[in-house]
Symmetry: C2
């Protein structure tokens, strides 16, 4: 299934769909490998501060997309909810990596879970919910607590409601505003971990050490490496990620979120892009997840992802940004700000990587 492709030549232009912090850090990584980037972003683009070129246009502007695609050598993305029509226009002109099939799967929570189950991987129990009757049936079958989520376009805890015993199901369904949804059954997990894995054009797979994640209000707060898991579980986690990447004939970096339970690992979700829980690699490894992704999509060999220090990554969310003056004075702290301007509740403004052990 794997292609044999000439690596992108030095000076080649990589188009990036999405101009947020992930695009920003991808752009910096691309520069280290001698590439130039062009960002496509409908809104403000902090990635543009470190990119040779930015196109500001909505994903519905097919002319702008066409010009963008023609100006680059290959297209990747930091953001998996790019509309299908936009991808169609681009793909007619330049290759998109990671591939369309992965995007289609990861854009829909139900299709994603079916795909994972089809690989023999466990997920949370789930049921499709397209109306109040579905929701009532799903609750009867999966029990409460459980989580009602839109099947598409959810991120950072948006588009989801936690239902606890006694919840008003009619009100919950109403709040979804008719969006196709999925009820996910409760998983009694000991901890959440994630594997940041990469697959090259030649089929080579590499994975970073799993990190242990703490979420609050649906948003990642910290990732700690190494995760407190046994060597056997660590190996299971990496093998699960590899199975997913190979099944998708994937090229690039993927974040695979897993629940550690008494019965082993469950896949929570996959993200076909560099992932917040992989930011620790910037201080922990000689080749970080951003460079690994660029190496993969550029057809270069994957890099050395050996972890040589212990790291705790902490997101700076909303008002956390006001801690920056103190963080600047702290030792063993690497600061990464996203250039986003004013903070808002829940907005990711930056992160820090704390080196815990040299």
């Amino acid at each position: 299934m794997s292609e044999t492709v000439k690596p992108l030549a030095p000076g080649a232009v990589i188009g990036i769909l999405g101009g947020g912090q992930l695009g920003r850090m991808l752009s910096v990584a691309a520069s280290r490998l001698g590439y130039v980037t062009h960002i496509f972003e409908p809104g403000p683009a902090p990635a543009g501060h470190v990119s040779a070129r930015v196109t500001t246009a909505p994903y519905e502007d097919l002319d702008a997309l066409r010009a963008f695609a023609e100006s680059v050598d290959i297209v990747t993305y930091e953001f998996e909810n790019v509309p299908t029509a936009a991808l169609d226009v681009i793909e007619a002109i330049r290759p998109i990596r990671p591939n369309r099939r992965t995007l289609a799967i990861s854009q829909d929570r139900i299709i994603e879970k079916q795909f994972l189950n089809g690989l023999g991987l466990k997920t949370a129990p789930f049921a499709q919910v397209d109306g109040l009757a579905d929701l009532e049936a799903a609750v009867a079958s999966l029990g409460l607590p459980s989580i009602l989520k839109t099947t598409r376009f959810g991120y950072d805890g948006k588009g989801q409601i936690r239902l606890t015993p006694g919840a008003d199901l009619a009100a919950a369904w109403e709040s979804m505003a008719g969006a196709p949804s999925v009820l996910e059954g409760f998983v009694a997990f000991e901890r959440e971990i994630s594997v940041i894995a990469a697959r090259g054009v030649d089929g080579q797979v590499a994975a970073y050490d799993p990190g242990e994640n703490v979420h609050r209000e649906g948003i990642l707060r910290t990732t700690t490496v190494p995760a407190r898991i046994s060597p056997a579980l660590r190996s299971d986690a990496v093998l699960i990620a590899a199975r997913i990447l190979n099944a998708l004939d994937y090229v690039g970096v993927m974040g695979v979120e897993l629940f550690v339970t008494r019965e082993g690992l469950l896949v929570n979700e996959i993200a076909p892009r560099v992932h917040n829980s992989g930011h620790w690699t910037q201080q922990g490894c000689v080749v970080d997840q951003f460079e690994q992704h660029i190496r993969a999509v550029a057809g270069l060999p994957l890099g050395d992802g050996t972890r040589y220090v212990d790291v705790v990554m902490e997101n700076l969310i909303g008002a956390d940004i006001e801690r920056v003056p103190d963080l600047l004075r702290e030792s063993s702290v690497a600061l990464h700000l996203y250039g986003k301007g004013a903070w808002r509740e829940g907005r990711k403004m930056g992160h820090v990587n704390r080196i815990v052990k040299g």
Copy 2:
């Protein structure tokens, strides 16, 4: 002497004179701290690949310089040979850090050595050479071998000739094309080291561990940290750098090159900017020299420059760039390419940092 200045606010624009690899890595560091950069560069500007804005104009274009200065909040440089008239225009509009006095000193080898000697620091013996008679007298006094250098605008071994016993002095002088020159006496050094030191707006000084440098044909080839020197010499080296920075009321990062001799340390030269021999800090420290420089010129507290691994930095010069496919496959190697296009003899195309010990 030190100013009390409000730190640059997030989102502020830092102007950088010079768009080569140093400007490029400064720009990336600025982005991590939430700043935006604007590059001023007469020629091709690889720094522009990772900068929000580039002005392409000669340093003689005072209107362009004026517009540049007005568009930024502060100006720094990657390149110490900016013409005085250009600096005059900029300084009337925005602060320049490091300061003008340092630039004036470091632009002239004789003034620099006189300044260093005035601080009680040893340098190579030297004599001013403005004609053949001066050269003959200087050779009589300093002996051979020695090195004839232009006092200004020399870098990477350019504008210098090594004179050995029996050298044709008339031909040597002729090759300087009438440029004011200096003869530097031979120094029997055991090794060359350098200290990358920083001084903040508040007078705080920080220094990285000294690195040991190997030059070939006047160009830096490798820097190894730690340098093979005693703790006493390490301390001397750092104190020398601190003395220079304080004497200049310096703000920013400076590279101080030193010769290790039987009689102790001699200062070879100072560079009022981030320095090639400090590139190892990108992999060795949580705050690298580029971020340290931006912190200093932005009025932020200096960062933690503790070295937590051993590193060997190797420059990729000219045809070395053809080793990149192999370097991409090597473990423990961080690659930093400069986006310069075709290689030329002696041209710095990139560098690698090899982690030697975790």
